[in-house]
Symmetry: C2
Subunit: 222 residues, 2 copies
């Protein structure tokens, strides 16, 4: 058990080091020896967890998927909004999430398959939108996978714009504006009227999800 905890910590230390080196040098220029130096682990330890530079990058990319769970909402559209707003909040505050998103937006990273996060976020969106559709929250013309992709793609650009202009200073404001622009074409008016799209929503959901996750960790393993 102590062994396993140590392995998880080592893996995490390597991923943090990889995130830092990819951010500093770009995927293309980064080397495994730089990551080794930053992580302060042995070559053996690194290769036990990751086989290659691409493998390391995929590990960093996957970090953005490990989203804190948004609690179930009666409105599945609100749940989608909460997932989006929580992700925006974590981008502003969590270096690993930031590193994963930057890597997935690195259009210069040749030889690195960056489609994963787009496709996985697309699936998250599709699943939630299907549930929203099943309970009558969506307008009749909506084609679920198309709308999911529009939300994922446009979010990716809004975050990139916010980062380029003010290092994420206005991210939640921009994401809230994006939701206000997209959702009227997707959601029936009565649902629209009851949504919370406020800029503070991400921080609120984060506190809630954090609390739930901590309670889970404290609970004895079943």
């Amino acid at each position: 058990m102590a062994e396993q905890v140590r392995a998880i910590r080592t893996r995490q230390a390597i991923l943090s080091a990889a995130a830092k080196i990819f951010e500093e040098h770009g995927y293309q220029a980064a080397t495994i020896s730089q990551i080794l130096g930053e992580a302060g682990v042995t070559k053996g330890a690194l290769y036990f967890h990751f086989q290659s530079k691409e493998d390391l990058a995929q590990g960093v990319l996957a970090e953005q998927d490990q989203q804190l769970m948004v609690p179930d909402r009666a409105s599945k559209v609100q749940e989608i909004v909460d997932v989006v707003m929580l992700h925006a909040h974590r981008l502003q505050t969590d270096p690993m999430v930031r590193a994963g998103v930057r890597l997935s937006m690195d259009q210069l990273a040749q030889g690195l398959d960056r489609s994963g996060p787009f496709l996985r976020w697309g699936e998250v969106g599709t699943t939630l939108l299907e549930r929203a559709q099943a309970q009558g929250e969506l307008l009749p013309h909506v084609v679920v996978p198309e709308t999911a992709d529009v939300i994922v793609g446009s979010f990716a650009g809004i975050q990139s714009m916010s980062q380029a202009i003010c290092d994420y200073g206005d991210l939640v404001v921009r994401v809230s504006a994006l939701m206000r622009h997209l959702l009227p074409s997707v959601v029936v008016p009565s649902v629209l009227a009851s949504l919370d799209l406020a800029e503070t929503r991400g921080a609120t959901v984060y506190a809630e999800a954090r609390k739930a996750a901590d309670a889970l960790e404290l609970a004895p393993a079943g």
Copy 2:
């Protein structure tokens, strides 16, 4: 005159070389000597046109601004759609436009101010939306600079997603879907009903703009 033509050609050759090197190595890792080698010009010629690596990158970034002019449209919203669709078409077909967009999305390019294209595209959008508003095409709640930024930011992400997933193979399909999702929150229904948002719109506008530009070049200087 011949002197001037030569200078313009040299500048263009250097920019093409810089675009290629930035794409291959990323902004961070690219060096001026690599660009010199690729362009096949003297050091003196390069420094006559560009003072630094950042200066070269700014030159590449600016290439995406030199959009072919979209002809005046009675509907200013259609004109916005045409600018967006033309840009998508050029991204699919013009390596310099592609290089400029990639650089502006390179979140790992430290020390390079990438805000320029976002801000300049935001201004293009704001100008056109203000004219649309003045002639009654927009819904009353629209805040023009906010909507312009949502369009610019979300376009940036949609192109990035399309590049990551299929190297722009489905770009015009995705951009058309984005427009169908955003515009109903922005435009009055009667205008909405008359818009051409088809996937083929970019190619049509390109042919039209190209013809106008060629006619202008053939005309004697006034």
